[in-house]
């Protein structure tokens, strides 16, 4: 077994794991019937699904002796931007009002999505 063979098998395994989690995310997106629960499916695809595909890409490139670190950057950028897009989806759902009753924040406050700016 050369390093290249081991890297190929490891890459194949992580491709399979990543593909499994992506398909579970897609099933979740189709199966759930409320907007907020549907929002949970893409977060899973975005973290471990894409993460395992990128690990496979790194394993192949290191197995061939030409290391690549771009994948680490992709993971870093993805992990910093994915919560922002999920947050915007949630804001849209709250604005459209199809999210069930929201709990009231403690104290005399409002959620910032629904807060009215003070007139002065």
């Amino acid at each position: 077994m050369t390093i290249e063979t081991i890297a190929t098998y490891a890459a194949a395994a992580s491709l399979l794991i990543g593909a499994f989690f992506i398909i579970v995310g897609v099933i979740g997106l189709l199966k759930f019937n409320e907007p907020m629960t549907r929002l949970h499916a893409p977060t899973k695809v975005g973290t471990i699904g894409i993460g395992m595909l990128l690990i496979a890409s790194m394993l192949v490139s290191f197995g061939q002796g030409e290391g690549s670190v771009h994948e680490l950057l992709i993971v870093a950028f993805l992990f910093t931007t994915a919560p922002v897009s999920a947050n915007f989806f949630a804001k849209v759902i709250i604005h459209r009002g199809n999210c069930g009753p929201l709990p009231t924040p403690p104290g005399d406050q409002a959620w910032s999505t629904l807060a009215k700016p003070k007139k002065d």
């Binding site: 989690f21 771009h70 709250i94």
Partner: protein, 166 residues
């Protein structure tokens, strides 16, 4: 005088370092020229954007390392749990819940880090923050005990973030 020049040139030293490292990683090979160019970018960009980012919170970067490892581990574990929920729990038995997480964190940067962590771990999504910044609105996919989820977030992530941003 020297200190003021340092603050003027490097308003966010960690941002400078991160930008330089990202630039070198984008080239995929570490050469001296690329390191110098990355450092130039890392000085110019924080300088030009510092008016939109006036405060520099205290930040212990070494404590960020165990926190990152913990979050990656939690992402893996939570992914398996959520995959199990997606594949086995029917819609009628699903118990989604809204929870309110009161915040002890004060810096906006720390609150965004906590909100991002909550969203990245599958099963919980941060939906909103209260207008005074005192609590987060979190949606949980499936739970029988919403208070336990809230306490878990507070003890597992927020207490660590309080020590990082202190």
């Amino acid at each position: 005088m020297l200190m003021r020049a340092y603050r003027w040139l490097l308003p966010h030293p960690y941002l400078t370092a991160i930008l330089a490292i990202v630039w070198i990683m984008l080239q995929n090979k570490a050469t001296a020229g690329m390191a110098v160019f990355g450092l130039i970018l890392g000085i110019i960009i924080p300088r030009l954007t510092s008016i939109w980012w006036p405060d520099t919170p205290k930040f212990r970067i070494l404590r960020m390392v165990p926190y990152t490892l913990l979050v990656v581990w939690d992402i893996v574990v939570a992914n398996i749990q959520v995959a199990w929920i997606v594949l086995t729990v029917p819609n009628s038995k699903l118990k989604p819940a809204w929870i309110v997480v009161p915040l002890d964190l004060k810096y906006p940067e720390a609150i965004s880090t906590l909100a991002g962590t909550i969203t990245l771990t599958p099963g919980t999504v941060t939906a909103d923050v209260s207008d005074q910044g005192n609590c987060l609105l979190v949606h949980v996919l499936h739970t029988h005990d919403p208070d336990a989820v809230r306490d878990d977030i507070k003890t597992r992530y927020e207490s660590r973030l309080l020590r990082i941003f202190s």
